[in-house]
Amino acid sequence: MSDTEWACHELLLRLAGRLPDDILWRFRDWAATDAVVVLARALPRALLHDRIGLTDLEMNLLADAVLSNGADRAMLSSVEGVDELSESRYTFTAESPDRVSMGDSATAVLGATLRGRQGVGEVRSSWRQGGGDQVARRIVLIAATADHARLTGEVQRVLRALGEHDPCVEVVPLGMELPPYHQAALAASEPICTGAEVDGHLVPV
């Protein structure tokens, strides 16, 4: 994974819960494909449209992710900087309040797909509420050692086929300090399976 791809993936990971889900999953879908050049234009525009500010770290990631792919420098300059991220608007639970009595085919499929897979560590899920969502949304947390963007796109497509229009798939590089959003999601999560990286935990143990 090149520096540009890495920066792009990490930035999109950090924008979870801040960019709308329907935009974020698609940007992540583009990040691992030829559409990264469109992403370089669309991402700054989306940040400006929704008035989303970035920390210094995120601002550097944005520059690394999009400038080499033709982003407009003037547009990047308009992105507001923030000192620290505000409190998350969401609450997380281990179970979906909407699906108490229903089977969870997505969990079964993810387990069948990712169990024992190379480059994949711990796989967990939790449910997010609040932030204007009418229903709880599944958050899939995956610890991975490689191919983060591609794995994100793949799991997103699986979840979409299973009925989640705007999948929330967070593929976290091992050893990364989790943003507050992911920490909260992890705290309320339940395990789905573990890949081949048996020591690949989402948080150091």
Binding site: D22, R26, W30, R41, A42, R45, Q156, R157, R160, A161
Partner: protein, 408 residues
């Protein structure tokens, strides 16, 4: 594409052309961006989806995308990255109207169709094949909206999509403009689609044309009386139409046990007289139904109507020019007439035959052409009946009875 067509319309047409090739959510988002005056983001979204999925486009389509990017001050070079092919692979989409794809749609759209201009029909169908590189769950409901020249395609697509989402109905909304060639995808969908029936009470208010909506009939008539194509749909009181629909909706979520009932197709041929289906009890004489079709008004003339009719017949100028009357009562309807009424109608026929030329027949209905006239084989009331006959909008019709001519 001619540049005299406005950019939003051209972009809307491009999105229509990509239906079935790009995932439905991308098209829905692009239409929303277009409707809220962000066409630059809409075009980039489309290009991104095409690139991410390596979805092939024709050279002409790339040219249209290049023009749009250029006009929107985006990077036209993005279009150079598209996968251009000489001949598009033909995706084999399959459509089905089983398990009532229109279930719940009339309720969800009842309000919005009254506030949008020039909506002519709404149809629903299930698509059982995936679209795009990142498809959503199947089957996917398609809502096909036919608009007239006064309609706004991007706004209609967006508003209807929003209304469906609010009702938690997952659907891809395709708004078909007049005078546009239907793609194979849309033609196949339209051919299989089931029409959404809006109740007369739900089509009040908003931007209304003065004409009647040609399918402004009851929602659940199919639940209560067999429909034989293309027999006119009998009107029934709205009461009692809710629970059967609800029950069907609950049932098909599980096993989809309901076989499709015969539906009236949009692609119309010449009208052949067919047997009248048995009327539901609510319509059976002698109890007069609370609302009438125009044809029924003709059959059950009141004293005032009779006097007006006789006056019109006596006066050679009684009918304004162009107010043609083409009464074609079905055999069953004819049986309901009294001798006196039948004689009056016969007299009316003879008078009109002498005064006017027969109306021109629209004989160029192509295989995939949608009949938007709503006048074939239907009763067009004369001016003295207080109805007008210049359109067939879903949200049109400000008639006393609120019921339009029967569809062909």
């Amino acid at each position: 594409m001619a540049n005299d067509v406005e950019l939003p319309v051209r972009l809307h047409d491009l999105l229509l052309a990509l239906a079935g090739r790009v995932d439905d959510d991308a098209l829905s988002q692009a239409r929303e961006l277009l409707a809220v005056a962000e066409p630059d983001r809409a075009v980039e979204l489309v290009v991104g989806a095409l690139l991410a999925g390596r979805i092939p486009v024709t050279d002409a389509e790339r040219g249209r995308i290049t023009d749009l990017l250029d006009e929107l001050n985006s990077a036209r070079s993005l279009a150079d990255l598209l996968n251009v092919v000489d001949t598009l692979p033909v995706p084999r989409h399959r459509f089905s109207a089983e398990s009532d794809p229109a279930d719940g749609v009339a309720d969800a759209l009842a309000k919005v169709v009254t506030s949008l201009p020039d909506i002519r029909s709404v149809m629903c169908v299930w698509r059982s094949t995936p679209a795009g590189a990142s498809p959503g769950p199947l089957p996917q409901r398609l809502v096909l909206v036919d608009i007239g020249p006064q309609g706004y395609a991007p706004a209609t697509a967006y508003r209807i999509d929003r209304a469906l989402r609010r009702a938690r109905l997952s659907a891809a909304v395709e708004v078909l403009r007049p005078a546009t060639q239907l793609s194979d995808y849309h033609a196949a969908a339209v051919t299989t689609a089931r029409e959404v029936k809006f109740s007369s009470s739900s089509s009040g208010g908003g931007h209304r044309d003065e004409s009647g909506a040609w399918f402004d009939g009851p929602e659940d008539v199919r639940d209560q009386a067999p429909v034989v194509e293309p027999t006119p749909v009998p009107e029934i009181p709205e009461t009692g139409s809710e629970s059967p629909r609800r029950n069907r909706g609950e049932a098909y979520e599980g096993g989809q046990p309901f076989p499709p009932k015969p539906v009236k197709r949009v692609v119309r041929d010449a009208v052949e007289p067919v047997e009248e289906p048995p009327l539901p009890p609510a319509l059976s004489p002698p109890t007069p139904p609370p609302v009438f079709h125009n044809a029924e008004v003709t059959m059950e003339l009141g004293p005032d109507d009779l006097a007006a009719l006789q006056a019109a017949l006596a006066d050679p100028n009684g009918l304004p020019p162009g107010a043609s009357v083409a009464v074609e009562a079905t055999p069953a309807a004819d049986a309901k007439l009294s001798d006196r009424e039948r004689a009056l109608l016969q007299q009316l026929h003879e008078e009109l035959a002498q005064r006017e030329d027969p109306p021109a027949q629209d004989g160029d209905a192509g295989q995939w052409q949608i009949d938007r006239s709503g006048t074939q084989g239907s009763f067009q009331p004369p001016a003295w009946m207080g109805a007008q006959n210049k359109g067939d909008l879903v949200n049109g019709g400000k008639q006393n009875n609120g019921h339009p001519p029967y569809p062909a």
